[in-house]
Amino acid sequence: MKTKLNILLTFFAVLCAFSCKNNQDSETKEPSVAVSNTTEAKQGQAFIKDDESKPNVLQIAIGSKDHTTLVAAVQAAELENALVNAGPLMVFAPTNEAFAALPEGTVENLLKPENKAKLALILKHHVTPGNYSKEFLKKFKHLGQASNENVSVEVKGDDVFIGGAKIIASIPAGNGIVHVVDTVILPGN
């Protein structure tokens, strides 16, 4: 691990030196003030360095190898900061398999920049303001989602289905809870 890190860091240092030089060049050519927005886009609670707090719902998703599609979608929709909020937030996190089960091309299509709003709505449909265990969810008939639509809550034996998606695992988070689900929950419209 350590050597790997060293290699990476060396690589990084080289890159940095290289690009810094580049910069100086461009600066002499271009004395006018150019304002970069790249730093601004990545500000917010999602980007705070904090290894003492319990991981939040976003960090849990990022840390899971089964949720790379979800994480990519959250990043494409720029919803990172909403997911690290004080909440409390209950996220129903479809697995990669769940996304793969959608008709072919659906995910690719949603990830396109022009579909950002649509993607955001679908993702918000997986978020409830609240923090309830699977057991406690059995008390509900429906949940009001951040998409402004309701999803049904159904109990079949020991299983709990949210908008038709089965909860297959639950991970408590610093700002809520992640329930892993086996299906993508699509909003009505």
């Binding site: 990084f12 940095c16 910069n23 970069s36 790249t38 840390g63 909020n85 909440g87």
Partner: protein, 654 residues
């Protein structure tokens, strides 16, 4: 874990390569950017801010005074909580201010300051602010910047939908958050539904001195009443309250109060009820509450216990109360400067709901009633709806206005301020806040005439925004320039307690009226010593009263003998200075009560009960003068059995 590390190292490298390598360049461009923001908030030494901002302290119980655009803190005005610095609630004169029907309550949760208005424009005379926990409303006089009145609100609990003023400061309103049994009685919590009531109190304001008196309490159904705002312009005479928990749940509200798709905004025609009451309507019910007044002449507060209040059943005043369905637990209830639009910020809804006053009147006129709640007519949602702002952000909380046809709404969950247009409901701009913003404030932004230059966003969470100070970090306010189409973040600055809400106004409204001192000649404190000849020490049993003066740079008297162990010694100290900004302090070793900070012309009192014989010093705690360190004195304490006579002196050895 390994995965996280990889991802974050990867991210770090990408971020650094793309951003920090051009450190030179970007720091230059950033400074160019920030210098323009810096210029906008820079108030040169000796110059003044354009606006006052009165920012509540939330759980600190106080009210802070800031300047905008600089974000400089000028004063923390003690209101509901004791303040050792100013002896508020510690000295004998101000203890009665914190008296309630429950006894002495030296703390609270201060929420919504509002500035008095004349003809719909903030007039800079008074700030009213509510205590949430033990329901109270305070008045702060903006000539002295002191709390001069606190009135307790009976039959109320969680005094949250308060303390908003009507457009001519006819009334200050105090609405309950919790519904409770009225009158209070021993009953099962499970019998809440249908039995508890929510009291909305209308406090009549004396136009001459701003004093409050409870005119009537409207006893509404047992919902939770969250926030409120008065109508203005065409809707003047009405008051609007958001409700939640119209389910009337008494447990686990986070689930049970979110079952209804819609709660209500209650529209109340207070002019109609006022008329009813003036004609002898309403029922007097026994209710204990304290009314505390501070006098600038006696420099002393009095607390009067009141014993009844006039209640009104909404069903007895037909046509005075209507319910407007509003989606999902609305929080903020905000009326635009024209009085036409009533914005419900449904905190669990993704949309903002805007009702039309004109459509509401029309629906009432045409009797378009869609059911009732406990006999109160419900209007049909579609009949009163002006429009919705669709998916503007997550967790809408509160809206204010710039007077140019735009509204600004905070979103708690998505941490942003969103600017949108009244009438077209389109989103014009959005800017992030850092982080989890609650209320926002535009000076005059909840009145008929906003001064739409800045918006101040008040954040609940700051995390990494400042140098860390352990687990507890400051909350913050952020200032945005709103003169352009797009908002521009100018400044963030730390605040006291929780900056829950604020009120602002042009500094010119207040500055010229700010008092420089209290006139000694008008001091009517019963123990004032207005010149050295008045100073004396008198004994009544074991009670000793010292009437003392202070001036640069001595106390008179400064040597006192004849005090005994077991005595209760009152230091009544008058500041003889008649010069701006020359307060003096006094602190006595071993005093269990208070030190004092006394303004020119003022008299204050602390109590000292000496427990040991000896010679005990006191001194001035405010660095008042070049000879401040000389400003001191001694009290000789003798055994309880001693026969030493009281004596006092100043400079006798010379």
């Amino acid at each position: 874990m390994k995965q996280i590390l990889k991802v974050s190292v990867g991210f770090l490298i990408t971020a650094l390569v793309f951003t920090s390598c051009n450190n030179d360049k970007s720091s230059k461009s950033n400074s160019a950017l920030s210098s323009s923001a810096a210029e906008k908030v820079y108030v040169a030494p000796g110059e003044y801010d354009e606006f006052y901002a009165f920012i509540s302290g939330g759980f600190s119980g106080q009210l802070s005074v800031y300047g905008l655009p600089s974000g400089r803190l000028f004063k923390v005005i003690p209101v509901f909580s004791q303040d050792a610095e100013k002896a508020w609630g510690y000295n004998e004169e101000t203890k009665p201010m914190l008296n309630t029907s429950h006894g002495f309550i030296p703390w609270d949760d201060s929420h919504h300051p509002d500035i008095s208005q004349t003809n719909g424009v903030v007039d800079g005379r008074y700030v009213y602010i509510n205590a949430n926990n033990t329901p109270r409303i305070a008045k702060i006089d903006l000539t002295t910047f002191e709390t001069t009145e606190i009135i307790e609100i009976p039959n109320s609990a969680g005094n949250h939908s308060s303390s908003f003023v009507t457009e001519n400061t006819e009334y200050v309103v105090a609405g309950t958050r919790f519904s409770i049994p009225i009158p209070q009685r021993d009953m099962s919590i499970k019998d809440y539904k249908g039995n508890f009531k929510g009291a909305l109190s209308f406090l009549k304001i004396n136009p001459d001195n701003g004093e409050m008196a409870i005119k009537f309490q409207l006893l509404m159904p047992g919902f939770n009443y969250d926030l409120s705002h008065p109508g203005r312009g065409k809707s003047h005479g009405w008051f609007f309250f958001t409700t939640y928990n119209t389910e009337e749940a008494n447990s686990l509200l986070e689930v049970n109060a979110s079952q209804n798709d819609k709660d209500f905004i209650a529209a109340i025609n207070w002019k109609k009820i006022e008329e009813y009451v003036n004609n002898g309507g309403g029922t007097k019910v026994p209710s204990k509450y304290a009314h505390n007044l501070y006098s600038d002449e006696t420099h002393t507060a009095t607390s009067t216990m009141m014993d009844e209040v006039l209640t009104v059943n909404p069903l007895d005043v037909p046509g005075a109360v209507y319910l407007l369905p509003t989606p999902k637990s609305p929080h903020g209830c905000d009326v635009d400067p024209t009085g036409e639009y009533i914005v419900g910020n449904g905190k669990l809804s993704a949309n903002l709901t805007v009702h039309s006053f004109t459509k509401m009147l029309d629906a009432i006129k045409n009797n378009k009633i869609d059911g009732e709640a406990y006999g109160i007519p419900i209007l049909k949602f579609e009949d009163v709806l002006a429009g919705s702002v669709v998916q503007p952000g997550l967790g809408p909380l509160h809206t204010e206005f710039d007077g140019k046809g735009n509204a600004y709404t905070t979103f708690f969950i998505s941490s942003e301020v969103v600017k949108w247009k009244l009438g077209t409901w389109e989103v014009i701009d959005r800017k992030p806040t850092y982080y989890s913003v609650g209320h926002l404030m535009i000076p005059g932004g909840n009145s008929g005439q906003p001064f739409g230059k800045y918006v101040l966003a008040m954040n609940k969470i700051t995390k990494d925004r400042y140098l860390p100070t352990g687990p507890e970090v400051t909350q913050s306010a952020q200032l945005y320039d709103i003169t352009g189409d797009k908002m521009e973040l100018l400044l963030d600055f730390p605040t006291i307690g929780e900056p829950h809400y604020a009120a602002g106004c042009p500094a010119d409204l207040i500055r010229a009226n700010s008092k420089k001192l209290y006139e000694l000649g008008k001091n009517k404190h019963p123990y004032a010593a207005k010149e050295d000849a008045d100073t004396k020490v008198t004994r009544k049993g074991n009670e000793v009263h010292i009437q003392m003066t202070m001036i640069r740079s001595h106390f008179s008297p400064d040597n006192i003998e004849g005090i005994k162990v077991g005595d209760k010694v009152y230091f009544h100290v008058t500041n003889l200075e008649q010069d701006y900004d020359v307060p003096h302090g006094i602190a006595m070793i071993g005093a269990n009560t208070s030190e004092l900070l006394i303004m020119p012309g003022q008299t204050e009192t602390f109590v000292w009960e000496p427990k040991e014989v000896g010679v005990w010093p006191f001194y001035c705690t405010d660095f008042c003068s070049a000879l401040h360190q000389e400003m001191q004195g001694y009290v000789r304490v003798s055994p309880a059995s001693s026969n030493i006579e009281l004596s006092w002196s100043l400079g006798e050895d010379f």
